[in-house]
């Protein structure tokens, strides 16, 4: 996956298609993560195939964001393994993008933020402008292209972060609480964008603790509780017949201990 030279958009799309099958499935085996003597992720195992939107659901502190970071290779597990199509997260990096809960935006314009990500990806300078325009338009941010990214509203910043990740044409998009702290209208806009990305064939894996959102967007649900994976079931089944006591309590809106 090493970049030998800068790519045009067409070359990149072709390369993406070529590697589509190489990145999935995501296989997580007996994953453990420990910090300061505390087990934050404990014996988590699952496999995700292509073509769906997976929701990592659970209360605060369940380890959802941590699991996403581990999957993207940003943190090394204490034990266990993570593979993307048989490759390590570091090797699959080019085909997996991540959007953090708090959008990390550079101190430059909205357009320049996307262009920077494309430059890192190795897209040629003359192809970038078109890609940037497309990404901004898709996210409904075309009119904010020259606006400084860090002075945009919370919802716009989140949309920009998603647009920037999507502009890199990933096979898999990891979204960490993409609508946290947003009002219903901004949430609706972001959910529509996620749906649109999912429909375009990008695999979505996202964390949330919002049950309604999980029902609206999810095809399958990974339910985490205190660092342990209690369920991995299709979303319909999860909400109709949760298997674990904790998941049942969570879906009923009760406090989960």
């Amino acid at each position: 996956m090493a970049k030998a030279r800068n790519l045009t958009v067409a070359e990149h799309t072709e390369a993406k298609a070529r590697h589509a099958s190489a990145v999935l499935p995501l296989v997580v085996s007996n994953l453990n993560y420990q910090a300061s003597g505390h087990r934050l992720i404990e014996r988590v195992s699952f496999a995700l195939q292509s073509d769906s939107c997976t929701i990592i659901l659970g209360p605060n502190g369940a380890g959802k964001s941590l699991l996403l970071r581990l999957c993207h290779g940003l943190i090394k597990p204490s034990q266990g393994s993570i593979t993307w199509g048989g490759q390590s997260p570091a090797r699959a990096h080019q085909w997996v993008a991540m959007v953090f809960q708090k959008p990390v935006l550079l101190r430059r314009s909205a357009a320049a933020n996307i262009e920077y990500a494309l430059a890192v990806k190795g897209i040629r300078r003359n192809s970038r402008k078109q890609q940037v325009e497309k990404a901004l338009t898709r996210a409904g941010l075309g009119h904010l292209a020259i606006r400084r990214a860090r002075v945009l509203s919370g919802g716009e910043q989140k949309r920009l972060a998603i647009a920037r990740a999507q502009a890199m044409q990933p096979q898999v998009l990891l979204l960490d609480e993409p609508t946290s702290n947003l009002d219903p209208i901004a949430t609706y806009t972001i959910e529509s964008l996620i749906q649109q990305i999912c429909n375009s064939g990008t695999r979505i894996i996202m964390t949330t603790h919002d049950l309604n959102q999980a029902q609206r967007l999810g095809d399958d649900v990974l339910f985490l509780h205190k660092g342990r994976l209690l369920e991995h079931t299709p979303a319909d089944e999860f909400f109709a017949r949760p298997r674990s006591q904790q998941a049942a309590a969570f879906t009923e809106g009760k406090l989960v201990y």
Binding site: R69, H72, L74, H93, Q94, A97, M98, F100, V104, L106, R107, R108, Y116, A117, V120, K121, R148, A149, R150, V151, M168
Partner: protein, 234 residues
Amino acid sequence: MGDFHAALITSAQLIVNFDPALAEIVLLSLKISLTAVSLAALIGFPIGAAFALYRFPGRGLAVVLINAFMGLPPVVVGLVVYLLLSRSGPLGPLGLLFTPTAMIIAQCILITPIIAALTRQTIADLHEEYDEYLRAIGAGRFRKMRTLLWEGRFSLITVVLAGFGRASAEVGAVLIVGGNINHVTRVMTTTIALETSKGNLALALALGLILIALSVSINAAAMGIRNVAHRYYG
């Protein structure tokens, strides 16, 4: 009081009339300090950024030392540079002692640790904010360093201004290695020291006023840059 009043009026006249002797000293001071600060920035930025981004054995000690060197005594730096450049010193054959170049070297040694230490802190703060994102998109180490230096550009301008302030106000080191030679190495601070000892308060006061104005301008510029950055870049 009368003497001070008279000196103040004469010094104001020197400034307003753009006295050639005064102008020569001010211009030489600016040339030396600006060159020194440019060189120090070229050296200090990458050193500071590398200390912030890379982990290597002895890094902790290096950071402590660079922070400690921010307070290097100018006369000691002057003495060391003097010994290095003196005829019997290792760099004696270059014939740099009592030249503006020697003064640039001394000022550069004094302000490089300041620029490097403040750059390290700026980049370390930015690194905390951007590290995961930059790793997530696969930015290499060198690109990461370049990106963070650019992201910290407004803070780094303030760092450079702080370095310039220290360089232009410095007297001990440049006096030792420059020799305070008229028309050659005489700068504002050394002239103030000399003219005060001679009792020529007017020129000393005029240069003092210019130095203070320079200091105020530098601080105003730093504040302006910070405000602009906050308003436009968030």
